[in-house]
Subunit: 331 residues, 2 copies
């Protein structure tokens, strides 16, 4: 097992088979090279933010969706596809940190904090462009389409979220669309890319794509639940940061139907972490967190049903572990 | 002649042949659709900044480099390629305006000014992603590679420029590298894309690519000369804005070798438009502007020599007009 494998990824990689850990190592190496070559001007902290850390869930999904490569098959383009997906994700994080004035991410200073707004904006742009430079080396237009559509969706989701900021009346449909764009599409693309890279001409990328989409949606829903439920030791931030940022998510949307006081709340009046915690408590008191978790669990159950029965046993088990892992985030 | 054709583009389109104006009209229509669909949340001013205005020199280069399409040939993918190049350019402008706190561009409020920093950053990201979504419809990996390499270069060039800010000792080589990345690569890609879209299997994209690269370099050099020389009526901004932003360009690099007072100047001490004008006068007094223009003219002459003799007469004339147009910017 490669030393670079994130703790959460290790059991999935192990279940998928002995081919995954070395491939993840190769992805990590490629990301490191790109981070170093992309922005030699950035402070070491900045490059580290791009290169290291994170659960690497998206590239792992690419590898697991691809299945074990046939003996002798060149895996270079599979590794590039996995790295390209992570680069798009990293580019988004770097830009998000700029927009959120975020000093830290994953325990390290953000590119924004260490190199400034301008450098971080450029660095994000460059990571995004590099993702396509990398992927195009495989020469498969359907892969590039999958990633560019996901990238376009990510930006649109981010845009919608900013447009919806401080709007306590945002609809459930609108919220789900944002989750779809911000998170689910890239998970979907990761799985589809894996299938496309598998070399199995008969495999339909949309089947595991749907698996990825549901997992991504569940992932985002549970992330939004965690922001309200805590505990702080799990999330590394105080409860209610989304509310403080003006981002209205599923727990609040469910809770406002159950508690007239919450329905009447103007998010702009929440200005201190203490107030945010109190609103989190009020949301939890309505049972909205359980309802939101339930919705996420249904998505995960649907994703499980998406796993084709004719896949090799190890691959099915690894995909199932990905689904379990998403649920386990709130256990 | 289409009403949407920019004044500077009209003579080039006319020389290239009657096919160009309707194709440019189609490019404009596609850009309009994308601008409208990309960011419905943006204020009309913002959408207008993306959709309208500009010289459209880059998409025009794509069309002129492609030459007249054979009768009956589908031009949809050529139009998409031309629009994709302009989208990458637009994405860069939208982000540049964020980083420069720019209120206006081309006489209209910037996306940044009308919709804010967050929306403009997301909008730029989305335009960039849409460029690849669009181009991938042609299904040619070499085209996607050309555009993603250019996009990556643009971001790196922007990054280098920010890293070099306020550095009066920046070398000529470094300055030329920045011009190469920031401007020349996208001009090069525009020409290469046109050739790839021409359907002429024997045509080598690197030949007109080299033409585009030299034209792009000359374009940037002359732009930097104009910033020092003015006049204000031509540029729409006071002289020396680059210096006020801390951007050291060719005129200063040449002049500091000729005037010890300029060599000793710390750009940070230039804080008012009046001071900037005085430095511009000092630069002009050394003859540096003529030297910089001379260097640009040599590049244009080299670009002219790049035009293959075996191209149709109309296409050669149009390419020559592009080269002339770049020189005419300072005449």
């Amino acid at each position: 097992m490669s030393a670079t494998l994130a703790a959460e990824a290790a059991p999935i990689a192990q279940a998928a088979g002995p081919h995954v850990a070395p491939l993840m190592g190769a992805v990590e190496e490629l990301l490191g090279e790109i981070a170093a070559g992309t922005a030699p001007q950035l402070a070491p902290h900045g490059a580290a933010t791009i290169a290291a850390g994170g659960k690497r869930l998206r590239p792992l999904l690419v590898l697991v969706a691809a299945g074990a490569p046939e003996p002798g098959r060149d895996t270079a383009s599979l590794v590039r596809a996995a790295a390209a997906v992570e680069l798009v994700h990293s580019a988004t994080l770097v830009h998000d940190d700029v927009l959120d004035d975020a000093p830290m991410r994953r325990g390290a200073p953000t590119v924004y904090a260490s190199a400034g707004r301008a450098m971080a904006t450029c660095a994000g742009d460059q990571l995004f462009a590099r993702a396509f430079s990398l992927l195009v080396q495989t020469g498969r237009p359907d892969e590039i389409r999958a990633l560019s559509d996901a990238g376009s969706g990510l930006a649109r989701g981010e845009l919608l979220q900013r447009a919806d900021a401080w709007d306590a009346t945002v609809t459930l449909d609108r919220y789900l669309l944002r989750c779809e764009l911000k998170t689910a599409r890239l998970f979907e693309a990761a799985c589809a890319l894996g299938v496309m890279e598998s070399g199995r001409a008969d495999a339909d990328p949309t089947v595991l794509g749907s698996f990825g989409r549901r997992i991504g949606l569940a992932f985002q829903l549970l992330d939004d639940v965690l922001d309200v439920s805590g505990p702080v030791e799990r999330t590394g931030k105080h409860r209610g940061t989304d509310l403080l940022d003006g981002t209205v998510t599923l727990p609040f949307i469910v809770a406002r139907e159950r508690d007239p006081q919450l329905a009447a709340l103007d998010p702009r009046t929440i200005t201190t972490p203490q107030q945010a915690e109190e609103v989190c408590d009020a949301i939890a008191a309505t049972g909205a967190l359980d309802a939101a978790r339930e919705q996420a669990l249904e998505l995960v159950a649907g994703a499980r049903r998406d796993i084709p029965a004719d896949l090799p046993e190890a691959q099915r088990r690894a995909l199932d572990l990905v689904a379990t892992g998403v649920v386990a985030r709130y256990a």
